[in-house]
Structure formats: structure tokens, C-alpha cells
């Protein structure tokens, strides 16, 4: 979707404000939201793409005002309701509805180190040969889906060069909508800064973007 999350190339967002001795979390609630998102993710009722898309669905004007962990909280609330883990009335009351079943087993403290150490690899075996090879010129497709995509607006329609092949990866555009992993080859595509931003860009500069097979056409 062409949302405010797709920021690449925009002006007017203000100065970058690095903070000296920045704490990992700025408040306890941020740490709890971070942990809740990870712990609830362990139920595997959704995937990382659905989780990202849920945050993209926050209306733009609100999203621009919200902090990072507020967006995480908003996305989590929507997902747990959509997946039937809790109801809206339970969230409002703060208590489990009478007679609701108790889930088991939740992620335990002992399982955390394994969850962190294992992560969630997104590469998949695929018996299809890659369509493109290193050095080949490709054009990013001009698509504007209303759903989730990881094809940023600033490269759509632009010509780049395949820099390397990463292997086959889960395709976010389908996975985010629970329509299957649809694994396909993922390429690192090099776009010259001048191709993206015009003649004023520095000749030798470039942007590398990881793009799935379906985002690309031969050029």
C-alpha cells in the first residue's frame, strides 16, 4: 500500500536527532510492548509480514504522530483481536470474559533464549532456477497494490542491475495476507542514484534494494 510508512526519498521530515547515551527503552512500557509482541508472536497466529502490514494500516496522520512502540502496541491489539486470542470487550474491561478458555502453554522464560537464538529464517528451498543473473539489467515493476508490499515507491519503474542473488525467500505480499509463503528468488538490485533521483545526484553513488522476483522485469 502507498502509505506513510514508505518514506524513502521524502523531504520535510525534520532533522535527525541522535540521542547521547540513549537507553535501550525510554520507559518500562516500551520494554513491555517489545516483549509482548515477541511473546505473542510465539503463538504463530500471524507472521512478521502480517505484523508489519498491521502497523501500516494505522491511518497515516496518526502513524506520523505515534512513537515506534505505540505503533507496535496498536498493531498487536488489532492482531490479537483479529486472531481471536482476546475480544475487544476483554481489552476494554482488562479481564478475561467469564467462561473463556485459558490458553496453554505460553512462551516460558526458559524458551526465550532458544526463541532468540533460533530466530525465524525466511529462506526456503525452491527448485525453480532464478530468472535473473548477476549483472543483468532489470526494471522494478510499477505496481501499486492496496495490500502489503516491500517494493518501495522510489524504485518503481526504475532500472537497476542485479548485484547478487540471496536465494529464495518467503514473499511478503502474499504471506502478510495469509495467502501462502509463495517463496521466490530474492535479489540485491543496485540502482544508480542518478536513475532514482535525477541528474543532480552524485554519479558514482547508488542504492541497493532487496527485491523479489515478482517485482522485476527484464530491462
Amino acid at each position: 500500500m502507498n502509505g506513510v510508512h514508505d518514506l524513502g526519498g521524502m523531504h520535510g521530515m525534520g532533522p535527525i536527532e541522535p540521542e547521547t547515551n540513549e537507553p535501550i527503552f525510554h520507559a518500562r512500557w516500551e520494554a513491555r510492548v517489545f516483549a509482548l509482541v515477541r511473546a505473542m508472536g510465539a503463538w504463530r497466529k500471524w507472521n512478521i509480514d502480517a505484523s508489519r502490514h498491521q502497523r501500516e494500516l494505522i491511518p497515516g496522520p496518526e502513524a506520523l504522530r505515534m512513537s515506534y512502540y505505540e505503533k507496535w502496541l496498536a498493531g498487536l491489539l488489532e492482531l490479537i483481536v483479529a486472531k481471536g486470542l482476546v475480544t475487544r470487550s476483554e481489552i476494554e474491561s482488562g479481564h478475561a470474559s467469564p467462561g473463556s478458555t485459558k490458553a496453554t502453554p505460553a512462551l516460558s522464560a526458559n524458551a526465550v533464549s532458544q526463541l532468540v537464538a533460533r530466530g525465524a529464517p525466511a529462506n526456503r528451498d525452491l527448485r525453480v532456477a532464478p530468472r535473473f543473473k548477476t549483472g543483468q539489467r532489470v526494471r522494478a515493476r510499477n505496481i501499486n497494490p492496496v495490500g502489503h508490499t516491500r517494493l518501495p515507491r522510489y524504485v518503481r519503474g526504475k532500472v537497476g542491475t542485479i548485484d547478487s542473488l540471496h536465494g529464495a525467500f518467503v514473499f511478503p505480499d502474499s504471506n502478510a495476507h495469509f495467502k501462502g509463503e509463495n517463496p521466490q528468488h530474492l535479489y540485491s538490485v543496485r540502482f544508480a542514484a542518478r536513475e532514482l533521483w535525477g541528474e543532480d545526484a552524485v554519479t558514482q553513488d547508488s542504492v541497493y534494494v532487496d527485491l523479489w522476483d515478482e517485482y522485476l522485469d527484464p530491462a
Binding site: 510508512h5 518514506l7 524513502g8 521524502m10 521530515m13 525534520g14 532533522p15 535527525i16 536527532e17 541522535p18 540521542e19 547515551n21 540513549e22 535501550i24 527503552f25 525510554h26 518500562r28 512500557w29 513491555r32 517489545f34 516483549a35 509482548l36 515477541r38 505473542m40 508489519r52 505515534m66 515506534y68 505505540e70 502496541l73 486470542l85 481489552i91 482488562g94 479481564h95 478475561a96 473463556s100 485459558k102 490458553a103 505460553a106 512462551l107 516460558s108 522464560a109 524458551a111 526465550v112 532468540v116 530466530g119 525465524a120 529464517p121 518501495p152 522510489y154 518467503v170 511478503p172 540485491s188 532514482l196 552524485v202 558514482q204 553513488d205 547508488s206 541497493y208 532487496d210 527485491l211
Partner: protein, 213 residues
């Protein structure tokens, strides 16, 4: 992390946080515990992991090893995931790693324009500026201006490569080893490597000692 007395202290990007958000999070956690959906001890363990165990010191060890061991550096630049795993790092948000090397000719910079993808396994959790719109919007269109904002001017003939983390591949910048460090140990070298230098927005810290992110 600030203690709970500071929950309502906000600055910069946090200034618009509604005061009741901390209460809402507490209520949500207690509901999820009541329903058996989360174990608070697991939440504590997750927070502890990223506050104290996994952070930019991991990445600094990788960089220092690459500086002192040419064979390791070669493995790092060929298969970063495996090379980083040799030092015991990997897993969540570091499943698929690529290391990109800064040289006298090439400068690399990492961003995620679509969200805030970041290599947790080697750098820990991202700082607020990395997750915020000003950096994410401008890193791809004006990397030299962004670097100027971080305090350094790149030579005109340097080649800038910006890496936009649009997939599950995570990028680690291998900064250039500063001159005059030949006599330093691997540990001393690691202490010079800043978090920002591994994102591509900062310099390696000199003189010693320095171990701020």
C-alpha cells in the same frame, strides 16, 4: 531503561505519547497473563536479553576479528551469517546477514525505508533516530547530507552505497581499520568500534579508550 518513575518523561519523538499508554500496557499484560497467553517471566527474559546480553558489542567483536584475521574477514564478506555464527551470534533479526566493507574509496550506509529493520544479533535494538522518519526518508536520497548531519563530510570522489533493508536480509557495515592501530589487541580494537560506525553513520572511535555505542 528508566525506572517506572520516569514512565511519563518523554522527549523528542516521544512527546506525543498519551499519558495513559503505560496504564494501557499494564492492563493488556495483565489480561494476557490472566488468559494464559503470556508468562511475565518470559517478558522479563526478553527485556533482559536486549538490555544486557545482545547489543553492539557483538558487532564490534565481529569487526575486530575481521581486522586482525584476513581469513575471517574473507569469510565474513562471503557468508556473513556463517562467519558471525562462528563468534556465537545469530538468531532473531540476524538470520540472514550480509557484511559490506568500507574502504578508502567506498562508504556504506544502512537504512530501512519501509519500517525499521535492523540486525539485532550484532547491534541489539535500533536507536530512535534509526526508526524515525527523518533518517528513513533521507538516507536514500541524500546520504551525504545525512552523514553531514552526523558530523562528517565524505570526499567528493568516494562512492556511497546505501543498503535499504527491504527484505529479511540484515546489513552490517565493516568499517575501515584506523591507521596507527597495528599494536592493538583484538579486544582493544573491538572497544573502538562504535554502533554508528557499523550502521555507516559514524566513525570508529579514536583515541582509546572508547566504548560508547
Amino acid at each position: 531503561m528508566h525506572d517506572s518513575d520516569h514512565d511519563h518523561d518523554h522527549d523528542g519523538a516521544h512527546s506525543t505519547v498519551p499519558p495513559d499508554v503505560a496504564l494501557r500496557v499494564t492492563a493488556l499484560e495483565s489480561l494476557l497473563v490472566e488468559k494464559g497467553l503470556v508468562d511475565p517471566a518470559a517478558l522479563d527474559a526478553l527485556v533482559e536479553t536486549y538490555e544486557h546480553k545482545i547489543g553492539p558489542r557483538n558487532g564490534a567483536k565481529v569487526v575486530a576479528r575481521a581486522w586482525v584475521d584476513p581469513a575471517y574477514k574473507k569469510r565474513l564478506l562471503t557468508d556473513a551469517t556463517a562467519a558471525i555464527a562462528e563468534l556465537g551470534f545469530g538468531g532473531m533479526q540476524g538470520e540472514h546477514m550480509v557484511a559490506v566493507e568500507n574502504t578508502s574509496r567506498v562508504h556504506n550506509l544502512v537504512v530501512c525505508t519501509l519500517c525499521s529493520c535492523y540486525p539485532y544479533s550484532v547491534l541489539g535494538l535500533p536507536p530512535v533516530w534509526y526508526k524515525s522518519a527523518p533518517y528513513r526518508s533521507r538516507a536514500v536520497i541524500d546520504p551525504r547530507g545525512v552523514l553531514r548531519e552526523f558530523g562528517f563530510e565524505l570526499p567528493k570522489d568516494t562512492e556511497v552505497r546505501v543498503w535499504d533493508s527491504t527484505a529479511e536480509v540484515r546489513y552490517l557495515v565493516l568499517p575501515e581499520r584506523p591507521g596507527g592501530t597495528e599494536s592493538l589487541t583484538e579486544e582493544q580494537l573491538a572497544s573502538m568500534v562504535t554502533r554508528d560506525s557499523m550502521i555507516g553513520v559514524g566513525a570508529v572511535q579514536t583515541p582509546l579508550p572508547g566504548n560508547n555505542p
